[in-house]
Symmetry: C2
Subunit: 197 residues, 2 copies
DNA sequence: CAACAATGTAGCTGGTGACAACAATGCTGT
DNA sequence: ACAGCATTGTTGTCACCAGCTACATTGTTG
């Protein structure tokens, strides 16, 4: 019974998984490379082989976060049937859910995105948001949204959704109030999107 | 020439001022009690008399932040004339400006607000947001907004504004794009606020 | 199977937050 | 005036952390 082989096997993956859990449960500030190493059962210097410094770990965490978020958004939109409003609402709900459960991770993702160093992060973010822009394009094609630059309309929608998530993470509302707030926000948005009624 | 009197005189204020500057320029994570003490020209243990631990300093910072934000919102709404849309837009602009320039401080303010310990913080936050609820009340009285619980309507508006600020701080848009995005958001919001056109 | 690259270990340095003992100062009551 | 006391600041200590370097172990490849 080899208690602990010298080589962990997939330290990098294990570190990322544990780090993601720690960030979710106790926040980014509480994330310590050394504690992480202890939790994974490895010496305090081992993570350095995979992440030269703390920031590198955070960047990797952000990148994997974008990938997971993108997958969840895609799953939501794909499983929401034909009706545009339903597709929109499902996607928004998925985003908000992610933003609530992994609030600190999401913040990390955005914070890292505008640090010039990380091109991989920007690419990952672009892939993630392409889901949203495609959805906006659908709405415009159906005539439910006024035509125009998808970015202009999409930004406004994204801002609203992001803001609603901020309401929850900032404890201005409780999570269960989303049941009425989100549909109302979607309705409000669609109503406001037809210039001439 | 007394180079440095034993008693600083108003260490607490000086610490808060310097801390606010540091948070704005280099972020909350870079805020160190010891460095703060050095910058103010005092020994590393001195801040302890005023802030028992780091969190106490952050709480005080958040509280003063709410007071300043409230003052700026009030100034904006008071200086924006009679037209409701103009008053709304001016207030939103003031909020967004604060949210951009003091992004980390704002985050600190919201993060601290839902830590049960700090009742002073919650009170300060309530005073701040009362400005917004009054404004919503105005709009409803004028019939520009559909009547109802000011919180319901206000939450949606607040979410949108907060989200727009997040777009800037997350580098999804540039600050100068606010010139068209904010008015459009306000227009969108008002348009969506009349159930039957 | 020997050399080499990849991976993990151990120890050091400088910095930090929390804490406690101590010193200087200002205030208050008599 | 001044003794006693509370307030405020100083110094030293402890445990922890990130980043670094030198070294040990493993597995892979020619």
């Amino acid at each position: 019974m080899d208690v602990r082989p010298y080589h962990h096997g997939n330290l990098r993956t294990a570190l990322l998984a544990q780090a993601e859990r720690t960030v979710r449960e106790r926040g980014v500030n509480e994330l310590s490379l050394r504690e992480l190493a202890r939790e994974v059962g490895v010496s305090h210097g081992a993570p350095r082989r995979h992440f030269p410094d703390r920031q590198a770990l955070l960047d990797a965490l952000a990148e994997s976060g974008f990938e997971r978020l993108g997958a969840e958004l895609r799953a939501a939109v794909d499983g929401a049937g034909e009706d545009f409003r339903a597709r929109l609402e499902a996607t928004a709900k998925a985003y908000i859910q992610f933003a609530i459960e992994d609030a600190e991770l999401l913040e990390l993702m955005f914070a890292g995105k505008h640090r010039e160093s990380a091109q991989a992060l920007v690419d990952a973010a672009d892939r993630t948001f392409s889901v949203l822009f495609e959805l906006i394009g659908e709405g415009q094609a159906e005539g439910v949204l006024e035509p125009g630059d998808p970015e202009r309309v999409g930004l406004l929608l994204f801002a609203t959704v992001q803001g609603i998530a901020a309401l929850v993470t900032g404890s201005m509302i409780e999570a269960d109030q989303l049941d009425w707030l989100l549909p109302e926000a979607i309705a409000h948005f669609l109503r406001g999107s037809r210039t001439a009624s």
